[in-house]
Amino acid sequence: MNAAIVEVMQKTGNELPRAHHSGELMAALAYDVHRATGFENFGIPFCMTVEAEALGSEVDYGSLKCEPKIAKEVFGSVKDVRCLSSGIIQNTKRAGAVFASVYELSKKHPDIPVTGSIAGPLSTTASLIDPMTFLKELRREKDEAHRVLNYVTDRLIEYAKIIADSGADIIGIADPTATGEILGPKLFEEYALTYINKLAGAIHELGIPVIVHICGELRMVKAHLPRLRGDALSVDAFVNLRELKKETGVPVTMGNLSTYMLEFGTPEKIYRAARGLLKNDIDILAPACGLSTSTPLEHITGFTQAVQKT
């Protein structure tokens, strides 16, 4: 999750989009964010495009207030995907910046956990192939879709391993395309569960815990969640985490304060909502989804202080 809000960046001058390209700046910004907001970890990097860019897609690096995005997917169909060789992600300059910042933060601040965030297999693949075609092909071209997802997942595993080797304490997998709202239960099981688990399993072999973030409504994929191999599950604001934990046995729950409330609510409302989440036995309190970069700092500190007062 990108917690680099404009207010913090303007104060310190360690700004995006420059920090997407420099390990030193990325580390400095992550430290600024941690200090200012009270979030008890470092989150690296500040975007979800390092992976897809390395695998061939064109990225627009955004601005101070707008995160990078895919400008153009490189392929028109799963059938067109040419597999790039092992090591392709970690040899890019931007991946190098991620490793360098993770390394620096973990060395300088051994008591603060560093979370290395990677884009999940479905989201990365949907950033390589026009998403409308890709989604169709999950039904129509199953063999090719599996071939491509295996390839993408293999490259992500290599990348995650170097983030871990650089000193990350946790790997976060965010896979917004893998939501049941888009895929439905069958394709979620066939693809999302398979490839997120493959990736998470490989990270587990390194002895590193994994947070999986699934966007959207979970109702239709609930039956599959007990088989998801994340150590912690992070979800959107409208999911009742207490019930989810009871129903699915998810070991650690993470979430899920509405990012809308964080931006537009009052500090009092945010404080009360955070206390409510605490009462619900949520294990890791966090924003429910991507934080708006225009969120006032005062709102975030209201949130973190509500937790730290316990």
């Binding site: 995160e67 400008a71 409308m132 989604l135 039904r139 888009i182 439905g184 225009s294």
Partner: protein
């Protein structure tokens, strides 16, 4: 059931069954049997898409299924279109649609467009990462009644409010109905930026747009 009606139903079924080849075959059959092309689209293919939309709302179909249904519908329409009699189609409501500047997530926008077009709207797709001024200029240029915007990112959703500000500054706000949608968007957000409508999915968007223009 007359043979034409039987054909409409088969066309609708082909769309719901995601059978593009069959939709094309039946559309050709409609042409050769001199069935009215407009009726074959309206009572056949579009009807099928409406049923697919219902299945989507009922969570039997999801995004991949809906896209495949729309491909089948469009393949059938492509066969029938050259045979439309001039002037048979009813006047269609016009709108522009796009993903707001800074954002390139366009799955939701595409679904809304598919559903609106199959429900008789004339929608100009401005694509993704669309600057606020372009929404305004294009809407004025084509005489649109609807301006439809989407955003999947909390970092970009505020820009949708800029479109409304530009319209107010130009003194043309009342010429348009404005609706917004997307993952982080809510009715509360729509109200806050002064949009006329919000819907949480593509099927609901059709009803919302119909009621905005009623």
């Amino acid at each position: 059931m007359s043979s034409a009606e039987e054909l409409y139903k088969q066309l609708a079924d082909a769309v719901v069954d995601m059978d593009e080849e069959k939709a094309v075959l039946l559309a050709k059959q409609a042409v050769s049997q001199k069935v009215d092309a407009y009726q074959a689209i309206d009572k056949g293919l579009a009807k099928g898409m409406e049923r697919a939309g219902k299945l989507f709302e009922d969570e039997e179909y999801f995004v991949p299924e809906l896209i495949i249904c729309s491909d089948a519908m469009n393949a059938g329409i492509a066969v029938l279109k050259p045979h439309l009699k001039p002037g048979t189609a009813a006047a269609r409501h016009k709108g522009v649609i796009g993903v707001i500047e800074g954002d390139t997530h366009d799955i939701g926008k595409n679904l809304v467009k598919i559903m609106l077009e199959s429900s008789g709207f004339d929608i100009l797709d401005l694509g993704r990462d669309v600057p606020p001024q372009t929404f305004v200029d294009k809407a004025i240029e084509i005489g649109a009644e609807l301006i439809l915007m989407s955003s999947l990112m909390t970092t970009t959703m505020d820009t949708m409010g800029d479109v409304i500000k530009i319209l107010i500054d130009k003194g043309v706000r009342d010429k348009f109905k404005i609706a917004v949608g997307g993952g982080p968007i809510s009715q509360a957000f729509a109200d806050r930026i002064g949009a006329d409508g919000y819907s949480k999915n593509a099927a609901e968007a059709v009803r919302m747009c119909q009621s905005l223009l009623a």
